[in-house]
Symmetry: none
Amino acid sequence: MTDSKRPGKRERLAGAAVQVLHERGVEKTTLADIARAADVPVGNVYYYFKTKDQLIQAAIGEHGRELDTLIAGLEQLPTPQERLKALLRGWMSRPDVTARYGCPTGTLASELDKRDDGLDKAIAGVMRRLLDWVETQFAAMGRADARELAVGLFASYQGVALLTNTFRDPELMTVEGHRLERWIDSLAV
Amino acid sequence: MTDSKRPGKRERLAGAAVQVLHERGVEKTTLADIARAADVPVGNVYYYFKTKDQLIQAAIGEHGRELDTLIAGLEQLPTPQERLKALLRGWMSRPDVTARYGCPTGTLASELDKRDDGLDKAIAGVMRRLLDWVETQFAAMGRADARELAVGLFASYQGVALLTNTFRDPELMTVEGHRLERWIDSLAV
Amino acid sequence: MTDSKRPGKRERLAGAAVQVLHERGVEKTTLADIARAADVPVGNVYYYFKTKDQLIQAAIGEHGRELDTLIAGLEQLPTPQERLKALLRGWMSRPDVTARYGCPTGTLASELDKRDDGLDKAIAGVMRRLLDWVETQFAAMGRADARELAVGLFASYQGVALLTNTFRDPELMTVEGHRLERWIDSLAV
Amino acid sequence: MTDSKRPGKRERLAGAAVQVLHERGVEKTTLADIARAADVPVGNVYYYFKTKDQLIQAAIGEHGRELDTLIAGLEQLPTPQERLKALLRGWMSRPDVTARYGCPTGTLASELDKRDDGLDKAIAGVMRRLLDWVETQFAAMGRADARELAVGLFASYQGVALLTNTFRDPELMTVEGHRLERWIDSLAV
DNA sequence: GATGAATGAGAATTCATTCAT
DNA sequence: CATGAATGAATTCTCATTCAT
């Protein structure tokens, strides 16, 4: 933690990986791509990560941490409805990026599920934390079917992100976002 | 004097491609994989398809045709509600396959969007036809917000397929399926 | 020689080969290219020529025959000078084709010399006949150094064809043609 | 602590390429051939040259540089006649190599002209520099028709190289060489 | 620790040639 | 004889990973 070296080459790599994996996709991304984005020489990557998988692993961790931060922020809000709608707004906040590259979490999950290494577990873990948190909110609203609703909400977001990306149409995301907000409001007791 | 060459090697290849692309994903699938699945020597594939892209293209076409057939079958049903619920049931009919490999259409769309060739347009076309048909059903139910509802329904399915796949949990799909059926029923005038 | 079949599929193949080999070059030309140009199904080529080499061989033969015909025509002319200048004019008659594809004989010789099969001998034979004929003309002019002059003239043509092709400049060929004609005139006793 | 990696693997590759392309011809030469000649593993070639074309490009550059050096040496000579004759002698200095493989510049030009990539421009540039230099010498001799003479001389060399190669007869080159030297002498004012 | 270079295991693609009717 | 289809060997190219300093 001295600054004898630029702070956190390891972190820089993980961060760059999150970015590049989102934009290019897991399979299209080469180690060289990530190294370049992080401004780290290729050969050096292996000092920090023994394999490409481990780097991806780290990227997933980093991405998870970003989401945890987001959620931690939401905890400040007074009611579960507020929190859920704020989450929605966060998810939907950059429709053009989604239109271009899809949801970072979802596309990652989708791609990693095709692999036999353990990476799919890692991203599943991240998604589960999100899902659990959403469930908690619905439970706090007194809903017995909280899990079901959580799945429904999360699925709606993931699905519309996919459609938004496929059709390259940010509008889809915005419209569906509003629909879901109204739906949340309608659930209030 | 046997029935000679098994009919439609081209079709066999496209069919095998649909299958293998779904199971392995676009980027992980090698021509050799498809060739093997279709029981065709690799070199011979190029007699039918000039490039790997063209074979993928054909697979998309084939997949689209399968969906068109599915939909054509639904047209027999008397009410739009019936038709939509039947579509849902079709989509959700093999939760274990979805848990293992995701929705074939959705995963394809997700992966192809990372590519710069025109393949993303092809799969987008397939999805648009589905979406339009769903919209038509909602319109037939007298809903002014038919497009919005169509996007919502399609997104819900795509999203839950993604979650089902990520969590490897067929239950998710089944439960959400029922929830969506009830929702459709609730829309009846 | 009935016309139950279109006359001379074999000849058509050889002729097409001459053409295509000139335009595309030996190594870039595929059997399929030649077959297509001759309007003969690929599989059928092998009925007439057991290997690609044999087809090229036939093309060389055909090309040689065309040159022999050309030369036979020149024999009508009264003086060796006339004959040589007519040969020159024949060679230089389509400078734009030469600029695009080079001299058919020369490029063939150049490419075939890189191969270990006997094809180089075949094209060398064709060139030798030409060279001998030129020598004969110089001898008829009473020149003791007829061989040397023949080599010089033939070389000048081949060389300028190469430059014309390399620089894609038909003018080169025309100008050098005139220069060589003047040179021939200057040799008259 | 040895002199470590032999210096200039990139140069070694380009040099080997010049050699092998001359001997085997462009189309018959495989990357593996060049790699072997340079004693470099195939995969490693791509560290230095992104494509085969780029390696060929580099070979052309290297070849051009060799010619430039040759010419620079000739500049020392006092008269243009001396310089031209020295060039001739350089060109004709290894008739047996020419008999076996042709003129490296000429065969390269001939083969590359069949390709659609820009490689033909590259070799044409090399030849143009040579041609220009020859023209300059003739101009220095006070000849108004310097360009024409330059084309004639260059063509004679290229042509006789082609014949020498085709007939596998080094004598041709030697004899024509002398003839051209006498011709240059005869041009002196 | 840092780094440019090395290496080899695939992957797509092309094509002469052969085969089955 | 004719012909669409089949086959496999060769070739270019990519990249994760390793090595030598």
